[in-house]
Symmetry: C2
Subunit: 767 residues, 2 copies
């Protein structure tokens, strides 16, 4: 893993700050200073217009466009849907004495930007030196409201240092934004009007007819004049401000955005709804909204903060991660999903992968169960698409997409979209995990089981029996390890499918016993038969789980042990990323793996494997893994911790919390690694905290990295709030609210209540 930190930002426990302006790093910073409130997101781009390298990105969760794909064969997607770049509601142009501010052309000094995790506000400051010798101090602030999803707030402050005079500010809503990846704009204006003190515009996307309403109001105390400006895809105001030397003059803009994907609703209704929303928040000023924002974040930190003593960089890093997790999703808007880059860039096209269930869901389950449930509901809502997709692949039941924005498959590489089966089992695992930790059987019976049954149907029709072995398994698949392209009996898929069948049958039995009436109705509606269940049982029992009996190493797939060996340390550093430097087919011909596959299921079903098995498999697979996925190191770190390799665990952890802050992968410019940010949380809680949550009781085996003094994290379990605090000597568990929690620590049973329990730290014997 040749990953080197690019240390650049100021280290601070509650902020990310950048001092000075480096145009070459601007896109990286734009990603880091992204804001979002799950409903919408904006990159930290200079809203005043910038002639240099920038990605002006403004995104709305689930708002998408599509382009046609020239598909050769059945079952390969024909339309590719992606999160579309949308209205620049921050649009601003500032002109003083005929000069227009542009950081690529203007002279300026004292540049600084910061993002405050406690206020949720992004601030930029600079002193602009005009050609005339006049100087003005500028401050740009913005936030997207966590309490009012539709609301975006902007404040620009002017302080002339050596003159008094006027400033012309054009501020507005711009739909002529370009979607960079496709090199075009996707918006057409439907309506544009001044209404009730606000300027409003309604536009729709070219192909998908998604609509977006946007309106704004301006507040500026010492305004000389103000007039409406309109052009094809723009509505705004030209405001002239009077600036007094040494005095701070502000102009505030409050924008209300409202996205409507339902094409059944007519334009007029969308327009009216938008205006109603605008009206509703008309009385809300910038300061009041900012105060609500601060209160919201203060609750978040009370509930979800991870405190680390003795490691300021990782302290900043993990808070940045938690901040981003809440920005990306917190469950106020049900039925959204989480794109691989959240709402921070066009890369991965805004699509959600199995990362949601495998990496993000744990964070929400233990911090914000409402959000966790809502993420699962995205899968329920999109079940009809998954049913249709299974049919396209000549199968039954539900086949969940490998990459999606709206529930349809949007991966145009058939080798991924058709061969990767691990989303369905991830959804099933997510349901099980969520229900086990929250006890939410209502969701399980209302929606969960229906998904489980349809997922089971898929895995029962996609699999086949080996002609020689007579065992059941999946042929022609790609596992989580994407460096083995089309294999038979991928051990991860087989094992996860086996567990999924078993869990489905278990839930069927449970619901039949607990809610017989509802079960009969459900079974009737889905046409569930006894034969079908017997078939699933048979297939689960016949499932091939390839394993070398002598060494205890699971074979990643049929024939993996004979794959030509490659010493991955012999690969020149300049060959990375391999996807760019190696011939595509060459990637797939070694025992080299891209990311954990066998180790992944050993983590997910940790309780099923002995420490010795984990050691044997870690020792076999770790040296073969090149971590060409940002999600990979955390899983390795977690298992290394468990098997008593603290140095390795720390080495793999090292960049987890600061992957983006230090731009380890050199591609943060494209957007944040949102789902790997979630893995950073897992790395601390599951890794150092040694938590396991795949059994009935929570399990802990805490350790502490050598350089840390102390760390603590909260956990929500069956409604109880549990605080875990680890220092050099002991771990301290206590509930902050709710019932006592039963748990296993270092193999011993405990019941933890408000009074708390202190247990001396143990070290795993090194194997």
């Amino acid at each position: 893993m040749p990953k080197v930190a690019d240390k650049y930002l100021v280290v601070d426990p509650w902020k990310v700050a950048e001092e000075g302006f480096d145009p070459a790093r601007n896109r990286v910073s734009e990603s880091i200073f992204s804001l979002g409130n799950e409903y919408m997101g904006v990159r930290g781009y200079p809203e005043e217009g910038y002639g240099g390298d920038t990605l002006l990105g403004s995104y709305f969760n689930g708002l998408f466009e599509e382009s046609k794909v020239d598909a050769h064969y059945k079952g390969i997607i024909k339309s590719l849907r992606f999160m579309v770049n949308a209205v620049d509601w921050l649009y601003t142009r500032i002109t003083i004495e005929g000069e227009t501010l542009d950081l690529a052309a203007s002279r300026f000094s004292d540049y600084r930007r910061e993002l405050d995790f406690r206020s949720g506000v992004y601030t930029r400051e600079l002193v602009w030196h005009l050609n005339s010798g006049k100087s003005v101090k500028l401050s740009f602030q913005r936030f997207v409201s966590m309490t009012v999803s539709h609301l975006g707030c902007q404040r620009i402050a002017f302080e002339p240092l050596n003159f008094s005079g006027t400033a012309e500010v054009r501020t507005g809503l711009d739909f002529s934004v370009v979607h960079e990846d496709q090199g075009r704009s996707y918006w057409g204006t439907l309506k544009r009007q001044e209404a009730g003190g606000a300027a409003a515009i309604l536009a729709q996307t070219v192909n998908t007819k998604n609509r977006l309403f946007s309106a704004f109001r301006v507040e500026a105390p010492v305004q000389i004049s103000s007039r409406l400006v309109e052009s094809d895809r723009f509505i705004g105001r030209d405001v002239v401000l009077y600036l007094e030397q040494g005095k701070r003059t502000t102009i505030d803009k409050l924008a209300v955005n409202y996205a409507e994907k339902d094409s059944g609703i007519d334009h007029e209704t969308v327009w009216r709804t938008g205006l109603e929303l605008t009206e509703r928040y008309a009385g809300l000023g910038y300061d009041e909204a900012a105060e609500q924002q601060r209160e919201y974040w203060s609750r978040v930190w009370k509930d979800s903060d991870i405190a680390i003593e003795g490691d300021p960089e990782n302290q900043q890093g993990i808070r940045f991660c938690i901040f981003q997790m809440y920005q990306t999703y917190h469950g106020d808007n049900p039925g959204f999903n989480i794109g691989a880059k959240g709402l921070t860039g066009e890369a991965y096209r805004g699509l959600a992968f199995w990362d949601t269930e495998s990496y993000c869901l744990p964070f929400y389950i233990f911090n914000n169960p409402k959000a966790a449930k809502s993420l699962l509901e995205f899968r329920y809502k999109s079940l009809p698409y998954a049913l249709r997709r299974a049919k396209e692949l000549d199968c039954e039941g539900a086949f969940y997409p490998i990459a999606t924005i709206d529930g349809t498959e949007s991966c145009d590489l058939w080798q991924h979209s058709n061969l990767q089966l691990h989303v369905g089992t991830a959804v099933a695992y997510g349901i099980r995990h969520y229900v086990n930790i929250t006890g939410d059987t209502a969701f399980l019976y209302e929606k969960g089981l229906e998904m489980l049954i349809q997922i089971s149907r898929f895995y029962a029709t996609r699999g086949q029996f080996g002609q020689k072995t007579g065992e059941y398994g999946y042929f022609g698949v790609m596992g989580p390890d994407e460096f083995q392209l089309m294999v038979n009996n991928n051990c991860y898929i087989n094992l996860m499918a086996k567990k999924m069948f078993e869990y489905t049958l278990e839930v069927i039995g449970q619901m039949r016993a607990e809610e017989a009436g509802a079960f009969v109705k459900l079974a009737g509606r889905l046409g569930l038969t006894e034969e079908e269940q017997a078939d699933w049982k048979h297939k689960a029992e016949s499932m091939k789980i390839p394993r070398d009996a002598e060494t205890g190493v699971y074979e990643e797939h049929d024939g993996f042990f004979d794959m030509p060996h490659l010493n991955i340390h012999d690969i020149p550093v300049t060959d990375f990323p391999l996807y760019s430097h190696w011939s595509y087919d060459r990637l797939y011909r070694y025992d080299m793996i891209k990311q954990p596959d066998v180790l992944m299921f050993m983590f997910l079903y940790s309780g099923q494997f002995t420490l010795e098995e984990k050691r044997a498999n870690y020792d076999y697979y770790e040296p073969r893994c090149i971590h060409e996925s940002s999600l990979s190191p955390s899983i390795h770190s977690i298992i290394a911790s468990e098997i008593g390799r603290p140095e390795e665990a720390y080495k793999f952890f090292e960049f987890a919390t600061r992957l983006d802050l230090d731009n380890y992968n050199r591609n943060t410019r494209e957007g944040l690694h949102t789902t790997s940010i979630a893995a950073a949380w897992m790395n601390i809680v599951y890794g150092f905290g040694g938590m396991r949550s795949d059994g009935e009781k929570l399990v802990f085996g805490p350790t502490i990295p050598e350089r840390w003094e102390k760390y603590s994290f909260p956990i929500t379990f069956h409604g109880s709030k549990l605080r875990v605090e680890v220092n050099k000597d002991y771990v301290h568990f206590r509930t902050e609210s709710g019932e006592p929690v039963d748990m296993i620590v270092y193999g011993q049973d405990y019941r933890v209540g408000a009074e708390g329990i202190k247990i001396a730290l143990e070290r795993v014997k090194v194997g």
Copy 2:
């Protein structure tokens, strides 16, 4: 194989004829009545303009356009090259009394068309009934000259049945032809002029700047007037003819076409060269050219005819095949290749596959060694591309493209272009085959060995050693059987590579001994080392050839025997072709195979395998093969013959010679199955004739199908002309010219001279 004949054409030993006009079948007939002379080809479209369904196709061998491919990864092609539809040099419009002939709109009777294998002329006749009640008999004749590659000839004859009057004929050269697959025309005019009694036009393709010069002269004895007509991409003449009742009036058009792909030559030179060619053939009239054409074909039939008694349909069929083989290629223009559809349609984009070496080459080796050599020279000429392509795939040596028009890879499906390795071994096999049968060691030492060395280098760098077995082989490949998409150690590829290494080393030894000086030069130029040769030897010796020792069945690839079984007879007929009706990934999950793979190498290296082995492998693979390639049945037929299954052999042969005439695959409308036409020849000579040519001596084991009385075919071997005649009782070998030929018949050695030998037919014992 649910293939049903669509019997439609008149059966005749020397002609294909169609009576009456069926618009629904017009495209099929256009393919069947295609003309070609290896330099250019025209489909049998109605040149007078047709408002119905037609594919106006005019092609020039190797003339191509390209379109960009959105490639995601390294080693996947970025530009797709294809044979482009070119000038309609037959362009004609006929107007009488204001009515313009169009078979989609006009009234006509007595329609008949025929293609005569002895004259090479395609004739259409009809009686056109004008609205006025007047009728005129029309005859359209055309041929493309086999003796002057640039020359296309057209004659239209008018015979008014009940009136005398005038006919207006517009005749010209039209570059506004549309390439149907891409929905656009690719031509831009560079120059257009009347010169020396001819009208000439020079145009070039939009992207590739390939140029095509076209000029024509008109001869019409009773011409009233004639004037030049020009438009953007057209030059022509409007001719008014006087027609006398009951008298035949003809108008002849002789077109000279000249294609120039070398962009280093300036437009003026191309224009001048075109005019010189036009000048050179200015004295040649239609009748004289037609006479030369007839003489050419009479030589072909003398040299290459297969005569069958007792089976008029297959007699017609095999002659159609031989006619097409010569039309597609006969070696007068060196360095061309053979597209899967020859010059008869846009399907497969005019690209050449391994079919050239595997299916077409034997026909030429035994009938027209000059053409065979020239086909191999295409591979020599394109060696630089193959060297570059290997580098793109991170390998050394030469990697020949799976689909090409100019030597570059033009398959945009990476799973084929990057995983199919069997072109290189096919080229090596072709060299060996050609040299063994012709004795042309000059070619071998001048060009053959260089190719062999570069091919060996590729196979020595693309292969790997299995970690467990320690054996050498190819990982991540697709064999000839394209229903196993990405497998390890495909037995065909491994075996062919092993043989290829051995042959290369053998030729090196032989040339070192026979032409030491030239060898040292070659080895020096190529940097050939002893270590390299030792490496090839080691890899050949370590090659994994998976085989079940008990049954003697070769395993198509690692794990094939465990692939889920499918009874192919359970597949509903409506599911075919599977590519259109099955989800793409589903095709690859069974023990179902698309075409021979193990059986293919058993045919190619027939002498290396016992009859028992062939039986065991045929019995295993034949029931698993769905023949979704038109090349598949012939190989099965040949092996069925050998192992004593005459009924099966005939069943698989049945549609070989008439695949297109009876439109068995229902896609002849797209063009002829040129390479399967070559397989039809192989089916008779190798199948019923029982010839094997993979050893030092020719081997024969003739049989005769039950319904045949007698058949005979000629063979050229080391310059000797050998005639083989088989009837119900015996086989008769004799040389028609050249030295006596040593051969093995039914396991016995013979020397056959001009006096001939008769041997009683034997029957293979049914296993």
